[in-house]
């Protein structure tokens, strides 16, 4: 009886989530079919107006390995150079990052190196961004991580979106994995990121007009940033945090996959583990921060989204772990589980759903739906996805500890390759 109840709970939680993702996958596909249709119209409009001035912020902390490549990509970006300023924000750099930056500063007049000072210095990404915000005046701010290689048209598309969609506070582009073929891990991450963007980002935008600011490859209006008083320096997941506050102002964030950037992903498990732990903890922090004021939020749909995050980072994993525990208990003891074939069929359906959902998102991208990748998707279900479970639990333990000990967030910068 007890086992039955627990099993029912875990199945309900898991399937609520899976059904929602199924719904998102459908939305993502619809968004893919639709998002480009506005472009010709938008192009015509933007040609008739005065282009806004844009600052590109590249927060960097010891990025000598990747910064050259990033700045090279920036030098090729297509936007009138008299309206553009690319700012490398060196935060507490002890390597050659600044030096490389200054090289570009000399070669390209629209590039500039800023170094964080005073209270802003050495406190992480949010703080660095806040510093740059204070030091500049442009109408639009675009943010790229230091390991990013945006396509030439990326920034143009972001600005195009903002100019044409006045209710959008920010325009979010798509990111792709540059080192996808490097290791087994980057193969998984590649699949994961494509899937995340076409399901969670595109899907949510299609159904609810909600997208999350991803931390890179997005542009936001300065007016909004100022209204919000900058980035939250306490949040590990500063992007999720910012997203919620933007929606609460009554604006939306558009997922516009025409703007593409390529970014480097962790090649080793250790780096992946650290980076993802930070994300998970960050999101857990944000969820808990806003869950309490869920009903004070002006936009109800964002409350729904927070609840979705809550599901993702708490309930869903709880459900999966519970179900795994029941499965294991069932192997060793007779726990009188009173459930028929339907559980088995459901298990198969979950796998099929997983497979088809990911395959759709992969087939949207060029050269991604290959036999090779399908094999990796199957493998992913039993390996990479399971790793997430352990990770979320680990993050939860760390967060709980932190809250109990009342420590501050410590920023961990992702190691580059």
């Amino acid at each position: 009886m007890m086992a039955d109840t627990l099993f029912h709970i875990s199945l309900s939680v898991i399937w609520l989530m899976l059904l929602y993702h199924m719904f998102l996958a459908q939305g993502g596909y619809q968004h893919f079919k639709k998002f480009e249709k506005v472009i010709p119209d938008w192009q015509r409009k933007i040609e008739s107006i005065d282009l806004p001035i844009v600052n590109v912020f590249i927060p960097a902390h010891n990025e000598e390995v990747v910064i050259k490549q990033t700045l090279t990509a920036m030098s090729r970006i297509e936007y009138p150079k008299d309206k553009l300023q690319v700012i490398l924000i060196c935060d507490n750099c002890t390597d050659r990052t600044k030096e490389i930056g200054e090289q570009f500063e000399r070669d390209y007049p629209f590039m500039k190196v800023l170094e964080t000072e005073g209270e802003y210095k050495g406190k992480g990404k949010s703080s660095a961004l806040n510093y740059a915000l204070k030091e500049t005046t442009s109408e639009i701010i675009a943010v790229y991580d230091a390991d990013n290689t945006p396509q030439r048209k990326a920034l143009w598309h972001l600005v195009l979106g903002l100019v044409n969609d006045p209710k959008a506070a920010a325009m979010v582009g798509k990111f792709r994995v540059i080192n996808a073929k490097k290791t087994w891990l980057t193969k998984f991450i590649n699949i994961e990121t494509i899937c995340f963007q076409w399901m969670a980002q595109a899907g949510r935008f299609y159904w609810f007009n909600i997208a999350t600011i991803p931390g890179t490859n997005f542009a936001i209006r300065r007016s909004i940033m100022e209204k919000l008083g900058g980035w939250d320096t306490k949040a590990l997941a500063e992007d999720t945090e910012l997203t919620i506050r933007v929606y609460d102002l009554g604006y939306h964030i558009r997922f516009f996959p025409a703007a593409v950037t390529w970014e480097q992903e962790p090649e080793t498990l250790k780096v992946w583990w650290k980076q993802r732990t930070r994300w998970a903890r960050g999101n857990q922090y944000v969820v808990l921060k806003f869950l309490g004021r869920l009903f004070n939020l002006k936009q109800k749909k964002i409350a729904f989204d927070i609840f979705y995050f809550f599901f993702t980072y708490f309930l869903f994993f709880f459900g999966v772990i519970l179900s795994n525990m029941i499965f294991i208990a069932n192997l060793f003891f007779d726990i009188n589980l009173n459930i028929g074939n339907v559980a088995l069929v459901l298990w198969v359906m979950a796998f099929l759903l997983f497979l088809t959902e990911i395959m759709i998102t992969l087939s949207i991208e060029k050269n991604q739906l290959t036999i090779h990748n399908i094999f990796w998707i199957c493998l992913m279900y039993f390996t990479y996805s399971q790793m997430w479970i352990v990770l979320v639990v680990y993050a939860l333990i760390l967060e709980t500890k932190r809250v109990i000990k009342k420590e501050d967030q410590i920023w961990y910068k992702t190691e580059r390759f």
Binding site: L19, M22, G340, V342, A350, I360, K366
Partner: protein, 571 residues
């Protein structure tokens, strides 16, 4: 195929599932114009006679008030009377420590005390009671059996609504003083029931209705009935604009051969019944065979073992069951209760089987029933409970004891007494044309006269079609001479008959609406009810399967357009 359409279809599907799992329709009592005040009927005592009185009072009150509660004095809780407007206390015997039941003594609403035990209620503390008396006349009407009465000296301001007499002594029997009233009789189900029913309007200041609802049942129409005579009777009534109620027994059992003949084997009769139903006649399921064991249909009892005078205790009708054991034959009360419980289970199965067979067969033959009438009106309280799960309307009278079928009560109003568990009673009050008497209508005429003394009482009687239409004409003319007679059209009250596979409803325009569930869908719904969680899971499998297919289509579309997309990107 757009996604939103699929989404909408799912929603509709879900709603349908929810709708079909809650398909109980309640009979409406709106047509009854009942008073909204809440009545609590409190009694004390567990003997047969007390219980019969309680059932009668409940039946009568439920014909006047919407909300009537029955509470045994010992079971009373502190807040039982919190919402009560009228407290009726029936105490046929003195209770030594009545003052200890403070809930009834501090009640400050309207109180009606009945019986000598009620003397000791706080409400009547200023009244004077003397030794008991006997009366052989009540309000000028002679009683065939003298009856014990309470000898009460009402206060000066009180109004005596009814007086009893014994020789030259007069006793105040029904007395009303402001909020408190008293009936000085220990039993109200005897000859006095008409007088008591009549005074309810005065006692509770209810408006007296001017009309008398009425009906005539054409009784015992079994496969053995003469089609011509049934047709003649039915047509006669229909032609006069009188609603026809056909009490049909779908199967006839021959005593000698044990042969069963169904209506299906009597095409002529069936045709006649169809004709009448088409013209608006209502069918009452009068049992399935009108017999238990090998009695002849129309004569035997079906839901009561008349030979042993006990409830049905065996499904196998060949077997002669044992007499039910008494409580003192068991070492503990618990054992006795278990024994009775298993006996009731057999009875439940038996009643279910009979009712389902009857409804099923009648409906299949195109004669969907809309009410039930137990053969000889006999049935245990458990029988009524089972029946209420199938029917919402009952014709006849109520057997008021689980030990003796002869304890029968015949209330005068249409109502929903608690024992019927939600069924509405259409009481039979005036009897039938009986050839035993030189004037076969004499008893009926007497009964009508008595019933008419009570405002709003039902004039319900029945007629056996084999007697021929001459008697029917006489009966109808007798009834039609009653001023303010109003023929009952049962459809106006809204009734239904429900089994696992059939749902019969009356509709607003008086038609009978039949819904048959096919067995597969039924099984499907049963499964959903039995294992709701598993059903939801199968629902998820279904939804997921559809989406997986949809995703495959998307995939195929994307692959087909792949080259085109590559080409565009190159541009």
């Amino acid at each position: 195929m757009s996604f939103k359409n699929i989404h909408v279809s799912f929603l509709i599907l879900l709603l349908l599932v929810i709708y079909f799992s809650s398909e109980n329709v309640q009979a409406t009592t709106e047509a009854l114009h009942l008073d909204d005040r809440k009545v609590s009927l409190v009694y004390y005592g567990s003997d047969e006679n007390t219980w019969a009185n309680v059932l009668f009072l409940d039946s009568t009150l439920s014909g006047l008030f919407h909300d009537v509660d029955i509470i045994e004095l010992n079971q009373m809780e502190k807040d039982d009377l919190e919402e009560t407007d009228i407290l009726v206390i029936y105490l046929p015997k003195k209770i030594i420590d009545l003052e200890e039941f403070s809930v009834i003594n501090i009640f400050d609403g309207r109180v009606l005390g009945i019986g000598e035990g009620a003397e000791d209620l706080t409400a009547f503390r200023d009244w004077t009671f003397q030794d008991n008396a006997k009366i052989d006349q009540l309000n000028g009407t002679h009683l065939n059996y003298p009856q014990a009465a309470v000898n009460v000296q009402p206060p000066d301001k009180a109004e005596v609504l009814s007086e009893g007499k014994n020789l030259d002594q007069t006793h105040s029997i029904v007395i009303k003083e402001e909020g408190n009233s008293f009936i000085g009789l220990n039993s109200v189900i005897t000859e006095v029931k008409n007088e008591i029913s009549r005074l309810m309007y005065d006692l509770f200041e209810l408006e007296e209705p001017t009309e008398h609802p009425a009906y005539i049942r054409l009784e015992d129409i079994s496969p053995a009935a003469d089609p011509e005579l049934v047709l003649a009777s039915g047509n006669y009534l229909l032609d006069r604009g009188i609603p026809v109620y056909l009490a049909v027994i779908p199967v006839y059992v021959d005593t000698d051969s044990g042969m069963q003949i169904t209506l299906e084997e009597r095409p002529k009769l069936l045709e006649v019944l169809h004709k009448l139903v088409e013209k608006g006649a209502y069918v009452i399921a009068h049992g399935y065979t009108h017999s238990y064991r090998y009695d002849e249909s129309g004569e035997g009892f079906e839901f009561w073992d008349a030979e042993l005078n006990q409830m049905i205790t065996t499904i196998d009708q060949d077997e002669m069951p044992e007499k039910l054991k008494k409580e003192d034959e068991f070492s503990s009360k618990n054992q006795f209760e278990n024994y009775m419980e298993s006996a009731r289970l057999i009875e439940t199965n038996y009643v279910e089987m009979k009712l389902e067979d009857s409804i099923q067969l009648l409906t299949e033959l195109g004669l969907p029933p809309i009410a039930f009438e137990a053969p000889h009106y006999t049935m245990s309280s458990n029988g009524y409970h089972v029946t209420s799960q199938y029917f919402s309307a009952l014709f006849g009278q109520i057997q008021a004891s689980d030990n003796n079928w002869q304890v029968m009560i015949d209330p005068l109003f249409i109502g929903n007494p608690a024992i019927l568990q939600g069924m509405t009673l259409y009481p039979e009050t005036v009897g039938y044309v009986d050839l035993q008497y030189s004037d076969p209508l004499s008893v009926m005429k007497e009964n009508i006269d008595k019933v008419l003394e009570v405002p709003g009482s039902v004039v319900g009687g029945f007629f056996h079609p084999y007697l021929g239409t001459d008697y029917l004409e006489e009966m109808v003319s007798e009834l039609e001479s009653i001023p303010n007679l109003e023929w009952i059209d049962i459809a106006e009250y809204g009734h239904h008959v429900t089994t696992d596979s059939i749902q019969v409803n009356t509709t607003v325009n008086g038609e009978i609406d039949v819904v048959k569930f096919d067995q597969e869908r039924r099984n499907w719904l049963d499964k959903i009810k039995e294992k709701p969680f598993e059903s939801v899971l199968w629902g998820i499998v279904f939804i997921t399967a559809i989406f997986t297919c949809l995703f495959m289509i998307h995939l195929a579309t994307l692959r087909l357009q792949y080259r085109k997309r590559l080409f565009e990107e190159r541009e």
